[in-house]
Point group: C2
Chain length 412, copies 2
């Protein structure tokens, strides 16, 4: 008989990571046009210096700074205007001593010029001559080539989940094609004759299948590719056939439903026989969510996760295991949690990590407050109108009112 | 000659809202299977009581509570077991005094029973009789029909941007089809001969077109439907033709590029003539981002926004105007900003609202800190690795080190 292993979250995470080399995601080339939410697989480097020319930050005249030494309101310097540079076009002249060129904001300084004089400190003196009433210094009001970013320098780091700001930065550095990770394919298989889909009629004694749809949504939020959501009857051979089928095209197979002991045993036995590495975690020391089963099939490179039936637990376990693993293998930095103060005391469960949904708000005194929402007060009300979840360490009795806590968000 | 109007952000928002009745988004029916990120158009109500039966929260026996009065370790009560209820099936019996039925966790209590006794406090006494060693009370370990949510009650409120938790709650209340807002169609038109697409070769003096791609990304993040991203040459008649074309199928037309005065005038003149209501805002008292032009065409129900050329400004103005308007008309609650403490002093611009990108982090002492990232220190570095933006009120000199501030995020 096989020993049943109950793991902490971090033990289970470590075991998953041990197998992760077998399911490292592939990468693919896309353009920045369709890159929102994708994870960058390699550092994206600047294709050119930004800017790629000496750029003026003001409207005015490009000069040799030494020519303006000593210039003042009362004793101007006179310079000959040799060019009127247009924005978006290269400057053609080479400025010699005694010469200057008009350059608009964003325009290019001609060769030989090393500083700008703002137009406000100049005056047209004749058709091709200006009076300069202020001295300037080398580099004044000029951005030098590569000052924003140098050719070949990293613009956006690998592991970044791309948002508008990153895509703008890539565009500005001439990066059009990027290499991103191909999302994992996920199958969601629910079991349980008592679980009724939201689109079917409900009879007395039956409950709705919640987890298939919340997991489908969360997997989608994370950018995973959900390839199937199916329901199988409580029949071992049908369940086995679906797992066998799913492992052909999935990186992760989630099973949901079956909180009763008999069904847990069935899930464990079937996963154990379908996966060549078998089941390696048979429970998590967390609350809620103990009945979690983990298995790995090396031949098809598929993780199987038998999730707990409790709707909040199935989301938190999916987040803590599958999403966490994805973030690790794609080298994403850990989630930046929200930081707030507990509104009330809340008890933990000694020896178990407790996960609890939480709501955040800004108090009248401007503090960011965290209100725990225990699931027992009503499942539906506990799921809507929350901003994430808090975690109570297994070695802590609970969290105290006023204590600073982190709120983790699903899907980030 | 038309007077040019410079508005504050809230004046411009009010003007947009005045026209908003003409471009209220349509709604459409979808299923919760594909609902992530969509905005609920009407309150979603429970299709049935949740639960729809008297549900046990423990493994044990359903009893009449009065039958167990006085039961104890030393003086048990004896009850006849008349049914073994299976999970997912209706209980068939009616419990009379002296009778009980086995009910597993999640199972249905038979009629007549009003409480549960946990199996731990019972013992099989004969084939169809148990001894009960503890008294129970009416309602003990029982969830009554509608206790979680009553049929017809609101499960998820209109204006909610749907995430996994909401979709789980909808599933649990038997809601499969929902009515959501059809996203606005957005056209992005960039102008400026000096602006070069990231996929084209860059010549000396030219700069990359950043805004088309960051705006395309941000519009996508917000769930808008970007119908075109095109670039037109600096030619008034070509620009006019593209605006005329875009207003046929867009709710919002964004134009970008053209920071020079001549180009601003051209954008203003063409928008003014293409839109039957003309241009009504010719600048915003914000920093950066003054050159913003707003126009409305009633006949085609299209807003046109001439965005400033500064990449950070174009994102913040799009967020403050277009995203804010969408959130208002779809009745979304305002964004919950991040709340943190300023790391340093930062100066504002008297008479102008200042927008500045910001980075957040957790200090060694566990405080949520906000680090302003002035755009002048380098465009690319200011865009990546930030978490959102802070706003400095036009009537404030700046923000002080240690002051509590809100960080707003793009796309939320």
């Amino acid at each position: 008989m096989k020993l049943l292993t109950v793991d902490t979250i971090s033990q289970a995470q470590d075991k998953l990571l041990g197998y992760a080399q077998h399911i490292l995601p592939k990468t693919e080339k896309i353009t920045i046009e369709n890159a929102v939410g994708r994870v960058l697989a390699y550092d994206a480097v600047a294709q050119e210096n930004v800017p790629n020319f000496y750029r003026s930050t003001v409207d005015g005249y490009a000069v040799k700074a030494t020519d303006t030494q000593g210039a003042s309101e009362s004793i101007p310097t006179f310079l000959r205007v040799v060019e009127d540079v247009a924005i978006g076009h290269p400057a053609k002249s080479t400025i010699k001593s005694g010469e200057c060129a008009y350059v608009p904001t964003g325009g290019m300084l001609p060769a030989g010029a090393d500083a700008m004089v703002m137009i406000e400190y100049t005056e047209m003196f004749s058709d091709d001559e200006i009076a300069v009433y202020e001295s300037t210094a080398v580099g004044k009001s000029v951005v030098i080539p590569g000052e924003d970013v140098k050719q070949g320098a990293t613009v956006v780091k690998k592991g970044t989940v791309l948002r508008a700001e990153h895509i703008g930065a890539l565009a500005s550095a001439g990066v059009w094609e990027i290499e991103v990770f191909v999302p994992w394919k996920v199958s969601i298989i629910s079991t349980g004759d008592e679980l009724i889909a939201p689109y079917d009629a409900l009879s007395l004694g039956q409950v709705r299948d919640v987890n298939t749809w919340s997991l489908n949504a969360l997997a989608t939020q994370c950018g995973f590719n959900v390839v199937r959501c199916i329901k199988v009857k409580d029949d071992e051979s049908l369940f086995r056939a679906e797992l066998e089928n799913a492992k052909k095209d999935s990186d992760i197979v989630l099973t949901s439903g079956g909180s009763s002991q008999g069904k847990k045993d069935m899930t464990n036995d079937v996963m154990d026989s379908v996966c060549d590495e078998g089941t390696f975690t048979h429970g998590l020391s967390i609350k809620p969510g103990k009945p979690t089963i983990l298995a790995f099939d090396k031949a098809s490179a598929t993780f199987m996760i038998g999730l707990p039936g409790h709707p909040v637990a199935s989301l938190t376990v999916f987040q803590a295991l599958a999403v966490n693993l994805w973030k690790t293998v794609t080298r994403q930095p850990p989630q930046k949690p929200l930081v707030g103060k507990m509104e009330t005391n809340v008890a933990g469960a000694p020896g178990k990590t407790t996960f609890m949904l939480a709501k955040t708000y800004i108090s009248d005194s401007g503090e960011f407050m965290v209100q725990p929402v225990p699931a027992k007060s009503g499942l539906i009300n506990s799921m809507v109108d929350t901003d994430g979840y808090i975690e109570i360490d297994m070695n802590k009795e609970g969290l105290r009112k006023g204590e600073t806590v982190f709120v983790h968000r699903f899907g980030l």
